[in-house]
C-alpha cells in the first residue's frame, strides 16, 4: 500500500520534471533568438551574397553641419559672433577648437602665435582674415585677471563618511 503511493508520487514528480525541462528549453531558445535579433536585426548572417565591402554614404545636411544652438556653434563650441566662421575655417584644420578656446591672449600675442604657426606648423597666409580672426578671439575670449592665486570655485560639497 505504502509502496504503491510512493510509486505514484515518483511518477508525478517525473511528469513535473519533464514539464519544467520543456518550459526551460522553450524559454532558453526564445532568449537566444531574442539576443541574436538584437545583435543582428536584419538577420544578415542567414542571407547570402553579402558584399565584402559596403560603403554607406552619410547624408549630411549643410545646416546641420554648422548648426548653432543658444549662440554656440555645436561642432566646435565657438561663440557665435562676427568672425566665427573665419575662425572655424582657418583654425580647426590641424588642431581642435578646444585649444583655441582655452587660450586667452591679447592682439599682439595672437599675432605672434599665428606667426609661429606659419613658421613651424604649416599654417597658410590668412590674408584679410587674420584681423577678422584676431578681433573675434580678443572680443569673445578675453583674458581674465587671476592675480597670484585664485579663490577655490566650483566646490562640490559632499558628506564624508569614514
Amino acid at each position: 500500500m505504502k509502496k504503491h503511493t510512493n510509486e505514484k508520487l515518483k511518477l508525478a514528480f517525473q511528469e513535473l520534471y519533464r514539464k519544467i525541462i520543456l518550459v526551460s528549453a522553450i524559454i532558453a531558445i526564445g532568449a537566444i533568438a531574442l539576443v541574436y535579433f538584437m545583435v543582428d536585426p536584419s538577420l544578415s548572417a542567414f542571407k547570402k551574397d553579402k558584399p565584402e565591402t559596403e560603403i554607406v554614404t552619410i547624408p549630411t545636411r549643410e545646416d546641420d553641419f554648422d548648426k548653432i544652438e543658444n549662440g554656440i556653434h555645436l561642432r566646435t563650441g565657438f561663440v557665435e559672433a562676427p568672425g566665427m566662421m573665419e575662425t572655424v575655417q582657418n583654425c580647426t584644420n590641424c588642431h581642435s577648437s578646444k585649444l583655441v578656446i582655452q587660450n586667452r591672449m591679447d592682439e599682439e600675442r595672437w599675432k605672434s602665435t599665428i606667426k609661429w604657426m606659419q613658421e613651424t606648423q604649416n599654417l597658410w597666409d590668412l590674408g584679410e582674415n587674420e584681423e577678422v580672426i584676431i578681433n573675434y578671439l580678443v572680443t569673445n575670449y578675453p583674458p581674465s585677471k587671476k592675480g597670484r592665486r585664485e579663490v577655490l570655485t566650483d566646490i562640490e560639497w559632499y558628506q564624508l563618511e569614514e
Binding site: 545583435v39 558584399p51 583674458p143 597670484r148
Partner: protein
C-alpha cells in the same frame, strides 16, 4: 543627426590588431558601424580612462586627471594624463619595430629589434614620477599659451625596461657626447611627413643614470598605445616631454639636441627672473631640467563635509624632480601655522613619496587644507604662484582642498 562612417570589412582585421582584441561577430557587424573603441566621441573608452578625467584638447589628445583620481600609490592607466604634441601613430608594426642609435657621437650606428633589446640587456623595474612641464599652467596671470593644465598632469607608474646606459655601452659612445635626442613615430598635426611633432632629449649625465630606461612595460603590461607602445624612453623627475613615446631612433649628439620643441621658448623658462607679462628673447630662455618640489592631496576629494569633533585623515604624494622630499607639512589656516605630515621614503630614486596626516578642526566653518613639501636642499613649495614665465611652466604652488566642518 545620426552619423555613420565608412567601414570596409577588410579593415576590421587591422582594427582588431590596433585594439589588441579580436572583434567578436565582426562578420555580422552592420556595415557602417564603427566599433565603440574607435569612436572619437568617447575618449574614456578609447583610452580606458576614468570618466572623471578632463579632456583639454581632442586634436591632439590632451587629457588630465583630478587630484582624487591619483590616490593610488602606483598610478593605474585609467588615471594617467595624456599629453600629445602630434597625432598618435595609427599603425604599430611591433614585429618589425626597431630602435636605431645614431648621431655625431656614436662609434657606429646600430639598430636593434625589439626582441633583441628585451633579450640582450638586463631588465629593471622602477616607479618613476612623470610630470608635464606645463602642469599648473592654467593659474598663470597673464595667461600662458598652451593647454591649460590644472593639477592633473602628473603620475607615478611602475616602468620595466633596460638601462639606456647599457645600450649606449654596447653601441660605443665618443668622448664628445653632450646630449641625446629622440625621434618617434607620432605624426605632425599638419600631417607633413617631413616634420616631427616633438623631438626632445637630455644631457648625457641624465642618459647615464640607473633609472633612465628604455621601457616596454608599464605597470606590468604592454605600454598602452597613448603612452608610447611599444617602446618609450623614461627619464623620471624631468619634464615628461623628455620621456619620448613610440621611440624609433636615439641620436647621441655632440651639441645640445636641436630637435623640435628643444629650441625657442618650448620647455624653457627665462634664465633670469622676469616680471609677469614681460617679453623674453629666445636667447634668454633656458632649458628646464629637473622639475621642482611639489605635492598633491589625493584624499579626501575637495568639498568634504564632516561633523565637528571628527578627525580628518588626509593623504597624498610628494615628489621633487631629481631630489627627494625630506619634509611634508599641512596648514588649515592659510599658512599661518604648519603641522608636520608623516612622509615615507621613496621605493626607489625618482618615485613619488606618500604622506598622511590626521587633522583636528577647532570649530565649525569653512577651511582649506594646504599641503607643502620641502626637498632635500631645503627648498619648499610656494603658496602663491612661482615666477611668471612666458610659457607657463613649473607651477609648483601648494595644492589645497576645501573642507567644511558642520
Amino acid at each position: 543627426m545620426k552619423r555613420r562612417s565608412f567601414v570596409a570589412k577588410s579593415s576590421l582585421g587591422g582594427l582588431a590588431a590596433l585594439l589588441g582584441v579580436d572583434i567578436v561577430y565582426k562578420n555580422v557587424m552592420p556595415a557602417g558601424y564603427t566599433p565603440v573603441a574607435l569612436q572619437d566621441s568617447d575618449p574614456f573608452k578609447l583610452f580606458n580612462k576614468d570618466k572623471g578625467m578632463v579632456v583639454l584638447n581632442d586634436k591632439p589628445w590632451n587629457i588630465e586627471a583630478q587630484a582624487h583620481l591619483l590616490d593610488d600609490r602606483i598610478t593605474p592607466n585609467k588615471s594617467i594624463f595624456i599629453r600629445n604634441n602630434g597625432l598618435i601613430p595609427e599603425q604599430i608594426d611591433v614585429d618589425n619595430w626597431t630602435l636605431t642609435i645614431d648621431g655625431e657621437s656614436v662609434e657606429q650606428e646600430k639598430t636593434y629589434s625589439l626582441s633583441e633589446l628585451k633579450s640582450k640587456f638586463k631588465q629593471y623595474t622602477y616607479q618613476l614620477t612623470l610630470e608635464c612641464g606645463g602642469n599648473g599652467r592654467s593659474e598663470f596671470d597673464p595667461p600662458a599659451k598652451g593647454n591649460q593644465w590644472t593639477i592633473g598632469a602628473v603620475y607615478c607608474a611602475n616602468w620595466t625596461g633596460i638601462r639606456l646606459r647599457d645600450v649606449l655601452e654596447d653601441v660605443g659612445i665618443k668622448d664628445d657626447a653632450v646630449y641625446f635626442g629622440y625621434h618617434a613615430a607620432d605624426v605632425h598635426l599638419s600631417r607633413d611627413p617631413t616634420k616631427e611633432p616633438i623631438s626632445r632629449g637630455a644631457p648625457m649625465s641624465k642618459a647615464l643614470q640607473d633609472e633612465t630606461i628604455l621601457a616596454f612595460k608599464m605597470n606590468g603590461e604592454d605600454i598602452p598605445l597613448a603612452h608610447g607602445y611599444p617602446l618609450r624612453i623614461i627619464a623620471g623627475g624631468w619634464p615628461a616631454s623628455v620621456s619620448g613615446k613610440w621611440l624609433q631612433r636615439l641620436s647621441i649628439r655632440n651639441i645640445v639636441h636641436d630637435g623640435t620643441k628643444m629650441t625657442g621658448t618650448a620647455y624653457r623658462v627665462p634664465c633670469k627672473p622676469v616680471a609677469p607679462g614681460e617679453k623674453v628673447a629666445d636667447e634668454d630662455m633656458c632649458i628646464i631640467e629637473s622639475m621642482p618640489v611639489k605635492s598633491l592631496i589625493t584624499y579626501p576629494k575637495s568639498g568634504a563635509t564632516i561633523s565637528l569633533g571628527k578627525k580628518l585623515n588626509i593623504r597624498g604624494h610628494a615628489w621633487a624632480g631629481e631630489l627627494e622630499v625630506s619634509k611634508m607639512e599641512y596648514s588649515i589656516d592659510f599658512g599661518a601655522t604648519w603641522k608636520v605630515c608623516t612622509i615615507e621614503k621613496p621605493v626607489n630614486r625618482l618615485a613619488w613619496q606618500h604622506f598622511s596626516a590626521q587633522i583636528s578642526f577647532p570649530q565649525e566653518g569653512y577651511y582649506e587644507v594646504w599641503a607643502k613639501a620641502t626637498d632635500s636642499k631645503g627648498i619648499s613649495q610656494p603658496m602663491l604662484l612661482p615666477g611668471w614665465n612666458p610659457k607657463g611652466y613649473l607651477n609648483n604652488a601648494s595644492h589645497r582642498i576645501a573642507v567644511k566642518i558642520a
